[in-house]
């Protein structure tokens, strides 16, 4: 079920370089939250701290608190692997497993975690592919390799793979930046459908996209090269795009910089 994320005083580092500083925000359940901002301002880094993917990179570390419905994800005895089971992720470049078929790709989360009952897996695969609006396109070739699909289909396959493990939250790191406008539209429609079941967080460089799909928007910026990124403003999407309270936000969304 969709859950709420509360972040307070979060810093993230790559080695000695501080990438983001003092981020605090609340991400509402069963809604879409968009992160916008210029390149290198730490949006993706912040997104990756939410499911403890940041620390996968050598030398990367995090300070601060991330609470998922009141549970601290960075408490000492929390298993990062279990966090990632609850908070799924879709990446910028579609990355289906090349050695697996379409079916196996969707079932990967279940199978790799050891739970296997063929009939149940069949159900999950169908439900996930339907959920990702891909079922009708691939139902006759589930045993073909996932890498044989088009870019947009691959990305929807990755979304199906992510929702197959029934996460509470779905993080999407520029999921449409490698796709054509038609595929982008398909994925945006999908996000809107999925938000009843999942809390969705999306990083995007496309401001129209943020305006179209998101309920709330956070604007990230950095003071200068080598400085850490910060959240400048977070509000209802309609407000951010029509009447932001910060000058920097207005400059960015009107195209004056970035």
């Amino acid at each position: 079920m969709a859950k709420q994320i509360t972040v307070s005083g979060l810093d993230a580092y790559y080695g000695s370089h501080k990438a983001i500083e003092d981020v605090s925000m609340t991400i509402e359940p069963a809604s879409i939250t968009a992160f916008i901002g210029p390149s290198g301002c730490g949006k993706s880094t912040f997104l990756r701290t939410l499911n403890r993917m940041h620390e996968v990179i050598p030398g990367a570390r995090v300070q601060g608190k991330v609470m998922l419905d009141g549970q601290d994800l960075y408490a000492g005895d929390i298993e990062p692997v279990s966090v990632r089971r609850m908070i799924g992720m879709v990446f910028q470049r579609p990355n289906p497993f090349p050695t697996m078929s379409i079916y196996e790709n969707v079932a990967a989360g279940l199978r790799l975690n050891g739970r296997q009952a063929k009939s149940k897996t069949d159900d999950v695969v169908e439900r996930s592919l339907r959920g990702a609006n891909l079922w009708n396109e691939v139902k006759d070739r589930l045993n073909k390799p996932g890498a044989g699909l088009s870019g947009g289909q691959q990305q929807r396959l990755c979304i199906a793979r992510a929702i197959a493990v029934q996460p509470d939250v779905l993080l999407m790191d520029e999921p449409c930046s490698a796709l054509d406008p038609i595929s982008t539209l398909a994925i945006e429609d999908l996000m809107v459908e999925l938000k009843s079941e999942f809390t969705i967080v999306i990083v995007t460089h496309n401001m129209q996209q943020a305006a179209r799909v998101s309920d709330r928007t956070a604007f990230f910026n950095l003071a200068g090269q080598g400085q850490p990124g910060k959240v400048i403003e977070m509000d209802e999407t309609s407000r951010i795009f029509t009447n932001p309270s910060e000058k920097a936000t207005e400059d960015y969304i009107t195209g004056r910089f970035g």
Partner: protein, 291 residues
Amino acid sequence: MSAVQHISPARRFKDRLAGGLVYLAFAIAVVPLVAVLWMVIQHGVARLDLEFLTHSMRNIGARDAGGGAYHAILGTLEQVALSSLISVPVGLLTAIYLVEYGRGGQLSRAISFFVDVMTGIPSVVSGLFILAFWILALGMPFSGFAGALALSILMMPTVVRSAEEMLRLVPNDLREAAYALGVPKWRTIVKVVLPTAFTGIATGIMLAVARVAGETAPLLLTVFFTDSINEDPFNGPQMGLPLYVFDQAARPTDVAVDRAWAGALTLILIVMLLNLAARFIGWWRSPARNR
């Protein structure tokens, strides 16, 4: 503003010249390969018959025709299988450590360095080492297993290097995709990284096998010689195809020299078959098959 230009004759000439040189270099590189194959096939087919493949050299007199290399083929297969059994797991695990866990730390740099050193060990030295350590110091008998130990010293660094390269080629995206599904790291390696790199790793292992299958010097010092069939690789002298070729070629009769050629051809065929097998497994496992 400059207009669109025609290709100048000088450039066209240089292009032709460079192209010609590349083809020439290719031809020169292929000459030894074709020549070796041609010679071995030409001289080897004469004795490559059923008798050769099914009989040993037991009770074959110095001038007698007949006899075969069954004992040597058996020995080579057992020795290479044993040395693969030792060096593939160790080499693969080392490569996994270097790529997935070492992260360029002190230990992984030390391992890398020693793997490089191992790559440079002359094969006779690895044979001498096993002779001195296993046979002389520990008092073990000459055996196929001692030969396999010497061969695995040569095989291990090759396996580590090739597997390491293949694992590094696996895109990090795939590891992250698996992590993001809540798959633990070790499972990601076993179920995603290794299958993705499988074809390359198999090819690397086959190259390593091909390399050690033709080694003579370490076997001379560890496996010794025999003209009889010894099926037990753990006890008593065995034979190997390289040893067989070495032994027969040194004998002063034409029939022995013919046997040496046939032995060499058999060795080439075995290595080729293993390579084909690896290719087949790679093809069979690859997703391209279903496309």
